[in-house]
């Protein structure tokens, strides 16, 4: 495990000044853009590891920043969302960043790379959503009650890593704020995934020209591992790393294997 680096925050005005993006920044080296999952940004050991080699830029999705929940209402549709993130990359001055995305963030990373093939130098997606197979319907995580989320997200919801990720603050006021924040983050990201997390990405994946690694938990119950092959078939030259005994969040549930796969790919 790595120690947590010093994390700073940048705020960048985008979308004609209507949205202020908050970006967590840590590490040193060439740029890496990390796009978080539907639950919002949580700085985890995987990001700390990446920050040892890269300058990690982790923006908070519009509406998920504490104290600024209504920013989401400034973004109408997926096209606007992708344009907004491209603007953010430019304004941060990121030149050919590595783009890493997990789950919802993986879908967003693919959309960014498909709309703007020259933006990423490499793409790493961890159990991304965005495709649909009738024989493997993606679970509706937004409609899943809180007490059933651990079993949906983790192969072993009782593992220490899973428990640590799901832990809530003990102080009642902070706990309520955390729950409301999580619920709202699902709502904000759900604007681009509800009711079926398929906004036509399959038809655009062929445009991705960056080197791509697709990491998937073999026991992912939210998005079946069969989707790894679907992404791989559509993205020319992409590589796949399947992580055993692992659910939807490989960088948390199987940190070592995920880091190894990412390091090998990124070289």
């Amino acid at each position: 495990m790595t120690t947590q680096p010093t994390i700073s925050e940048e705020t960048i005005g985008v979308w004609d000044g209507r949205i202020t993006m908050r970006v967590k920044v840590a590490g040193a080296g060439s740029p890496l853009l990390y796009l978080h999952p539907a639950a919002g940004l949580a700085w985890d050991p995987f990001l700390s590891h990446l920050a040892e080699r890269y300058t990690v830029y982790a923006p908070e999705f519009p509406g998920t920043s504490v104290g600024d929940p209504y920013a989401i209402h400034q973004v109408d549709d997926l096209t606007d969302l992708v344009l907004l993130y491209e603007e953010l990359v430019r304004k941060l001055g990121l030149v050919k960043p590595v783009v890493v995305g997990q789950s919802f963030g993986g879908m967003l990373a693919c959309e960014l790379a498909a709309h703007f093939p020259d933006v990423p130098s490499a793409l790493v997606v961890l159990d991304p959503i965005g495709l649909w197979l009738d024989e493997h319907p993606v679970a509706n995580w937004i409609a899943t009650p809180a007490d059933r989320l651990p079993a949906l997200l983790f192969h072993d919801p009782d593992s220490p890593a899973a428990q640590a990720m799901l832990a809530l603050p003990e102080d009642p006021e902070r706990q309520r704020a955390a729950i409301a924040g999580l619920v709202w983050a699902f709502g904000c990201t759900g604007k681009f995934t509800w009711p079926i997390p398929d906004r036509g990405l399959r038809g655009r994946l062929h445009r991705i020209s960056a080197r791509t690694l697709i990491v998937w938990g073999r026991q992912d119950k939210l998005a079946n591992v069969a989707y790894a092959g679907e992404f791989a078939n559509a993205i020319a030259g992409s590589k796949v790393a399947i992580v055993d005994d692992c659910g939807h969040i490989p960088q948390v549930e199987k940190y070592d294997q995920t880091v190894q796969a990412a390091d090998e790919f990124l070289g």
Binding site: P69, I72, I142, T144, A180, W184, A185, F186, G187, W194
Partner: protein, 422 residues
């Protein structure tokens, strides 16, 4: 006071252990039904509404629930249109009150406006149109609208519907959620000013909108009026004071389940098991996450609900609620005619309620007992409530002119856009 008969169309023959295995919405298995059971549940529901129309109620009211076993009414306008024609043909001066055509879920808002216009024409100007944001599960799971868009869709669709009803000339509608190059409804409503109601369960933003824009507000008291009534109605009138709207009781509606029999003891014998069926297998079997999907409730609303879930009253115990629980919480007001009318009169007087919507059928209650409940209520309760506000001098601006109301003449607070538009 205006008094409506409100009814739902629950499937009446669910298995005894239904609530241990199923939810009552979205994925409730249709294999539990029989052809005869579905037909009689809906046929009886229509007959009961017509019996109410013939029994002296001021209106007959229904609402909208898709993909649900506790109310098989995916579009209330279908029911309302049948009632509109039947009552017109029979010459019954009764309001036709579809309470909850959901505009938060509607992808065809112009159709909702057209349906209401048509019902107003069919009824000869007796429509009392009710609009609602919509239940979270119905808007988002049954109808696919992202939860965070439901309220915004409602807001936009409401403007379109109101404008389509009133516009004298065709107009183009360039909305975020719908675009129409030419809006020119045929027919328009007969009523120049439709007495429009918004139905809700206590969101202060909805209440404020009703007060500022001159809509009536209907409160659905499913969660137990003895637990929730004071906080909800006090909130409503406090907001009224804040926006300088007179405390006219006729702008407030209250839906209450009522069970009347010859005596208090007989009411329990007649209705207890059917009330328990209704609330355990209906509302009690809708899980919380389906009532408030992430994004459907504003983040500040989520925090407020986590801190104080009081607006939800008995909801959390509903799945196992006994008759006594339901009575004690005020989910139902049950008993002899004297018991019922005293409680209703006191409750409506205390909270300034000028429109009572009595739900007299529930759960598995068989047809003959529904009819008994309607008859006893109409003969021995309703006449004792009607005069509640007559000596106050308030005008009923939220009721059709043909039925004694004076819509379109109410005072709108000067600080709203609507006043400027007048």
């Amino acid at each position: 006071m205006k008094i409506s008969l409100f009814a739902q169309a629950p499937y009446r023959y669910l298995p005894e252990d239904f609530e241990q295995h199923h939810e009552s919405v979205c994925d409730v298995p249709y294999s539990l039904t029989t052809r005869e059971g579905v037909y009689s549940s809906v046929r009886d529901f229509m007959d009961e509404l017509m019996f109410g129309a013939r029994s002296g109620f001021d209106a007959v009211a229904v609402t909208e629930h898709g993909q649900s076993s506790y109310d098989m009414v995916p579009n209330p306008d279908l029911v309302a249109s049948a009632l509109a024609y039947m009552t017109e043909a029979e010459g019954i001066d009764v309001g036709i009150f579809p309470m909850g055509r959901s505009l938060g879920k509607s992808r065809e808002p112009l159709r909702a406006a057209e349906e209401y216009a048509m019902i107003d024409v069919m009824s000869g100007g007796r429509l009392v149109p009710g609009l609602v944001v919509g239940l979270s599960y119905d808007s988002s799971i049954n109808n696919g609208v992202p939860p965070i868009e439901v309220r915004k869709r409602f807001d936009e669709n409401l403007e379109l519907v109101l404008r389509a009803w009133k516009a004298q000339t065709p107009f183009a509608w360039n909305g975020k959620f719908s675009q129409y190059p030419m809006v020119n409804m045929w027919p328009r409503p007969l009523q120049a000013d439709l007495p429009t109601w918004i139905t809700g369960i206590g969101n202060p933003n909805t209440m404020r909108m009703c007060l500022e824009r001159g809509f009536g507000f209907t409160y659905l008291s499913w969660f137990g009026a003895k637990l929730t009534g004071k906080r909800i109605f006090d909130r409503f009138w406090e907001i009224a004071d804040q926006v300088s709207v007179p405390r006219n009781p006729y702008r407030l509606g209250f839906l209450q389940t009522v069970a009347v029999a010859e005596s208090d003891e007989q009411a329990e014998r007649d209705y207890a098991e059917h009330l328990e069926y209704g609330f355990r297998k209906g509302l009690g079997s809708i899980p919380m996450e389906k009532l408030g999907l992430p994004g459907g409730i504003d983040i500040r609303g989520v925090q407020a609900l986590l801190k104080d879930p009081g607006d939800f009253g008995l909801y959390y115990q509903m799945k196992t609620a006994t008759y006594r629980d339901l009575v004690d919480a005020g989910v139902v007001i049950a008993g002899s005619p004297a018991t019922v009318r005293d409680q209703l009169r006191e409750f409506c007087r205390e909270y300034g309620i000028g429109n009572l919507h009595a739900m007299l059928s529930f759960g598995s209650l068989p047809r003959h007992l529904v009819m008994k409940n309607i008859q006893l209520f109409s003969e021995e309760v309703l006449p004792h409530l009607r005069d509640l506000w007559t000596d106050t001098g308030h005008q009923h601006h939220w009721w059709p002119e043909r039925l004694g109301g004076s819509p379109g003449t109410q005072q709108i607070p000067a600080n709203t856009g609507l006043a400027a538009a007048r």
